[in-house]
């Protein structure tokens, strides 16, 4: 059987919910916005919302749900964030307690859920503009680094900015800046172009998260604010309880990439 239409976001979420898909979500429901997940008790939610407002590059808010509500009514009506991601991390006091396929048993009525934009959106745009993505070609995870840049603290939350790095051919650097600038709700423009030392990164070959990068001659490293930042900051800040997606296992919304584009 051949299909001409891509699978709908609802169908993909159903497949994940049923347990038929347990792997990372890269490439699923192409053109739809995927999101990082953070669920925190209401007691910490104001501070975390404020943290996101003050750090929009690493933490672009796509949707924030009312306490205890598991349905993202604005971006994926009918979905349930407790079951519709392939894999979750559960933290207590900043320590990873479990990685689980759903969080039904961990759910609490005081949990506030945050959906944050994800680099998949701007990677699609880069690819459409002809900018090569070596980590995608090599089927690796993107390389990510802790920096010496501090996020703007908010209440109990503080910590370092995490960046992802993509090497870009010198003649396409301006294009890569322009293309990703259109998606401020998916981390937006790079936070830095060029020398890793400027961000306190000593060795590009040894990332703090993800896989070592492929960098070709004539390519410049470009650094974008990364969706791992809120997890790293939350872990550093040790909130009593927190649920997140497992890296790469994102929540798929109904939004189209263009819905969150700037002009």
């Amino acid at each position: 059987m051949t299909t001409l239409l891509p699978e709908s976001p609802r169908d993909v979420r159903e497949r994940i919910r049923s347990g038929a898909w347990t792997r990372p979500t890269a490439g699923l429901a192409p053109g739809r916005v995927q999101a990082n997940l953070v669920s925190l008790p209401r007691e910490q939610a104001f501070d975390f919302l404020l943290f996101c407002q003050r750090n929009p590059r690493p933490c672009p808010l796509i949707e924030v749900m009312e306490p205890g509500v598991p349905e993202p009514v604005a971006t994926a009506p009918g979905a349930d964030i407790r079951t519709d991601l392939p894999s979750y991390n559960v933290y207590r006091e900043g320590v990873l307690e479990a990685t689980v396929p759903d969080v039904i048993d961990y759910w609490r009525d005081d949990l506030v859920t945050f959906l944050l934009g994800c680099s998949f959106t701007f990677e699609t745009a880069l690819a459409s503009a002809g900018v090569p993505l070596h980590h995608v070609e090599a089927e690796r995870n993107v390389a990510m680094y802790k920096t010496n840049v501090q996020t703007a603290p908010a209440g109990v939350f503080a910590g370092p900015l995490v960046v992802s790095m993509r090497p870009v051919p010198r003649e396409q650097v301006v294009k890569a800046v322009q293309v990703t600038s259109r998606f401020p709700n998916a981390h937006g423009a790079p936070v830095h172009v060029g020398e890793p030392e400027a961000l306190g990164i000593r060795d590009l070959a040894s990332p703090d998260y993800g896989d070592p990068p492929v960098i070709l001659d004539g390519e410049t490293p470009l650094f974008w604010a990364c969706g791992v930042t809120p997890q790293a900051v939350a872990v550093a800040s040790k909130p009593p309880f927190m649920i997140t997606h497992a890296p790469g296992h994102m929540f798929i919304t109904d939004l189209r990439d263009e819905d969150i584009a700037a002009l």
Copy 2:
């Protein structure tokens, strides 16, 4: 004595703090971002922050301050929002209790202060682009209307969108959309172009707030989300205590208009 340099934002705030300036702030510290003010007890702050996140057109967040902190450390270090606006409104249970020149005696250690972008920013841009502003020429307040469009509710906050209207010569409508689109943190692009009926507005000559508009032949009404919305919504939602600026008497930040521009 003649001055070639415009007065600094700090100097203007000092003049306001001393009581030497008590009138509206339009035209002061040209090119600097002015802001709407809302201070609410921490108990309602999460809901209001969520309301702003869900309604970025009427409620673009410029800065949110920690509970009890009167200094906007990000946008106006050294300032004090309790004294640096020319006039304040104090509400209890949604009812206006007092209009006062400072709020030192009303301050509480649990108040969270929100600074929201203001249309003065995009009006400067419209004027620079040659789009006439009749209400400014006539030294009137802009005309504002309650609409039949509901804001996205959040917790205890819900209510109608309020819009401001500026008539624009037909041949400049596209230019006006383009120019204001660059300032999403100052209400951004119009929410509607043309027929007032589409927003449930029956009579342009009878605005709900501000002064009746001047509309010339060949002009199209353009409607922008308005900074009065959060006050109208907050009043409708009757939070126990709330401080705002008095309309037109804004807080002047150190930010330049270009600091909050999109690309």
